[in-house]
């Protein structure tokens, strides 16, 4: 019992330290928090938020910003998951930080857990920024169901954290992890529904999109924000990703 309590304290302390370390790295900070807002600004200026102002099919009958704000919440969780997490985890392994932790018998679940918790907190902050920007400058309506949105956000963030942890476990170096992370990020950004909306995509683009986790994150969050309810099939896909990637990364992760 006592040991478990101690483990939880170590987990929280590591998470707090991870968050402080994040704030001391300007590049990651800007990329995670400012980049989605800048993209949202461009999209908002181009499309505005008049429902039906553009072709109804393009944004699923919603205003463009009602389409994009939930999509960019999914993008924030993806950015933290596939860019920040793998770089951090591979860096720790290659540099000997993990050896240092391991020699002091820090449990591996606390090391991985603190990364995931920190990613979750950063995801919340980034999402609040995106949502605040959207509702302040464009008349984006409030989410139809906050509870469903929160549940969708958690599932989406957890699935991307699992993907990021898996990348961190299998990538041989920080450079490789950064390369793979950035490539995944941009492919998903443009083909997963956060760039051109699904309504204007060619069949080929849609077929590629079907293989991208972001597509399902965008679908899930848009549905709960815009009142179409809980997208069960998207949630199922994300759930499977979470379980498989999470299980694999715990199996594969080496102390280094």
């Amino acid at each position: 019992m006592e040991q478990r309590g101690g483990g939880a304290r170590v987990l929280l302390k590591l998470t707090w330290i991870e968050l402080k370390l994040f704030l001391r790295e300007p590049t990651t900070l800007v990329f995670t928090f400012a980049f989605p807002v800048v993209l949202l600004f461009v999209l908002g200026e181009v499309f505005g938020n008049q429902p039906g102002g553009t072709d109804r099919r393009i944004f699923g009958g919603w205003g463009a910003m009602n389409y994009y704000v939930p999509a960019y919440i999914a993008v924030v969780t993806m950015s933290v998951g596939v860019i920040m997490l793998p770089a951090r985890l591979t860096g720790y392994r290659a540099g000997g930080v993990l050896r240092r932790f391991r020699a002091s018998l820090v449990p591996i679940w606390a090391v991985l857990g603190s990364q995931v918790l920190a990613a979750l907190v950063l995801g919340v902050i980034g999402s609040v920024l995106v949502a605040a920007f959207g509702s302040l400058f464009y008349p984006v309506h409030v989410p139809d169901s906050l509870a469903l949105l929160a549940a969708g956000f958690l599932l989406c963030a957890a699935a991307f954290a699992a993907i990021g942890t898996l990348l961190g476990a299998v990538m041989p170096s920080t450079r490789a992890a950064q390369g793979a992370g950035l490539m995944l990020f941009f492919v998903m950004l443009f083909l997963g529904g956060a760039g051109p909306p699904t309504g204007v995509m060619s069949d080929t683009m849609k077929r590629i999109g079907d293989f991208l986790p972001l597509t399902y994150g965008v679908d899930l969050l848009q549905a709960s924000w815009n009142g179409t309810g809980w997208d069960g099939s998207a949630a199922l896909v994300l759930g499977v990703i979470l379980i498989v990637a999470g299980w694999l990364s715990l199996r594969v992760y080496r102390w280094g």
């Binding site: 006592e2 370390l21 540099g95 000997g96 240092r100 020699a103």
Partner: protein, 317 residues
Amino acid sequence: MRLRSQGESGTLSRMPPVIAVEHLRKTYSHHVVAVADVSFEVERGEIFGLLGSNGAGKTTTVECVQGLRTPTGGTVRVFGLDPRTSSGALRGRIGCQLQESRLPDHLKVWEALDLFASLTPGAADWRTLIKQWGLAEKRNATFSSLSGGQRQRLFIALALVSDPEVVFLDEMTTGLDPAARRIAWDLIEEIRDHGTTVVLVTHFMDEAERLCDRVAVVDKGAIIALDTPRGLVVRYDPLEQVVFSAPDEDMDWLQRVPGAQKVCRRGTRMVVEGSGPLLAHVAAALVERGYAPDDLRVIEPSLEDVFLKLTGHPVEV
């Protein structure tokens, strides 16, 4: 009944060793033998040294003891526990300073100490450690801004922050300047005097000679000698040398000085090698023949001479 009485007499006669290593073997990919066959015990409260060249197998040996590597063969026990399977029970009881490790670049000195202290409930006060190891003014510096010596001192402080019962120090004075080395040595002796067992891995002869209660000389994955530093010298290289400046003339009569075994000339100096009260006899013989060199002195055999004799090669840095 019988079992219990045996146990009682066991604890009465002798404290169990802190570390017991029996026939440890570690090979990498079937070809490279890092540790061939190593057995030793470390008693409570001693400074135990593993002395050898780089690549001799010292670090692999302690990494197996720390539970960082899985031995290919043999057994390792720390406080009677297997370090591979009992990491939870050993947390806080052992402290490690690793040869190659890092902290996150932007982590501050105090945050690192605070984090590692939080791993164990009864941890030492890191505010004292930070002063002892000369890092007080670097409290808010990030890890990447520290010099090599400062990083080294931080890692030693981290090894000690849980107030461990046994601490492993792997090449702890590498990167330290001479003054910092002396301070580190004094502090390590202080730690031992407080009852902490110390396992010291080093390739520095002077460090082993100065600090260790017992030294295991490691060469090619095996322990080739194990004794106190003095004991090693007496056993393997008991000869001392008497040295003095002398004019360039025949001094063969020195061979007949009691205790002398070998006489040779080294430049402007004569060297008489032997045992017993050699200095007194040489001095008497010199005065008798009208010589009075003003630099007559004894060179005691050192651990370095023993090492050379045992391994056939000088320590490689």
